[in-house]
């Protein structure tokens, strides 16, 4: 049974490797951040499966922290395209951060 969870963890790891191919290819930074998010979700899945395989409940705390922080990178990321777009299309536009 714990072998089954180990196998599942490994297969999820393979799917994470495939997602990294998208981060490599892009073409846009939205694609890259999506691939990173997928790696994040995969990591949580692997942590849960690994915890079950090894019967170690502490790994769930790691999964919990990872899910809590998963969306922070995305919110930092989406702050920028708008700002970047405004600052370049209108070089003399006033502060973006007002």
């Amino acid at each position: 049974m714990s072998e089954a969870f180990m196998l599942a963890a490994m297969l999820v790891l393979v799917s994470m490797a495939a997602a990294l191919l998208r981060a490599w290819r892009g073409p846009t930074s939205v694609d890259r951040i999506m691939a990173v998010q997928l790696v994040g979700t995969g990591m949580v899945g692997v942590a849960v499966a690994l915890g079950a395989a090894r019967n170690e409940a502490g790994m769930l705390d790691a999964a919990l922290v990872a899910t809590l922080l998963a969306a922070v990178a995305v919110s930092a990321f989406v702050r920028r395209p708008e700002g970047a777009a405004t600052s370049h299309s209108k070089p003399n536009s006033p502060s973006l951060d007002r």
């Binding site: 049974m1 297969l11 799917s15 846009t28 939205v30 979700t41 915890g51 998963a70």
Partner: protein
């Protein structure tokens, strides 16, 4: 709990685990194969969270302890809440393949 019941639980857990891995793989395939960022977002925010939910359920059944099951449920709850926010934010930022978005900005800063 008789041995038959435990065996049924074990089979259920294995089936959920297999289904979960399948959804993970489907999510990655979707991320790679879908034509543009908004459709790839489906793969990211739907398939993967179902995958995580199924793997979590399998783990909770396998562990068979209510306290641990509650913590696993919390993990999944946070995952779907933050994925809902991720989907909203990225969908607004994602350039569409028909050119109505502004992919040029992304291309330039990502250096591709």
């Amino acid at each position: 709990m008789g041995p038959e019941f435990l065996a049924v639980l074990q089979i259920l857990s294995l089936a959920l685990l297999a289904a979960g891995v399948l959804f993970y793989v489907a999510g990655s395939v979707g991320l790679l194969r879908f034509p543009d960022a908004p459709s790839r977002l489906h793969a990211l925010t739907k398939a993967d969270n179902v995958g995580l939910g199924l793997v979590s359920l399998a783990a909770a059944i396998y562990w068979g302890e209510p306290a641990i099951a509650a913590k696993i449920a919390l993990v999944w709850l946070f995952a779907i809440i933050s994925s809902g926010m991720t989907a909203q934010l990225l969908a607004r930022a994602a350039p569409v393949a028909d050119g109505s978005g502004s992919p040029a900005e992304y291309e330039r800063e990502s250096g591709t």
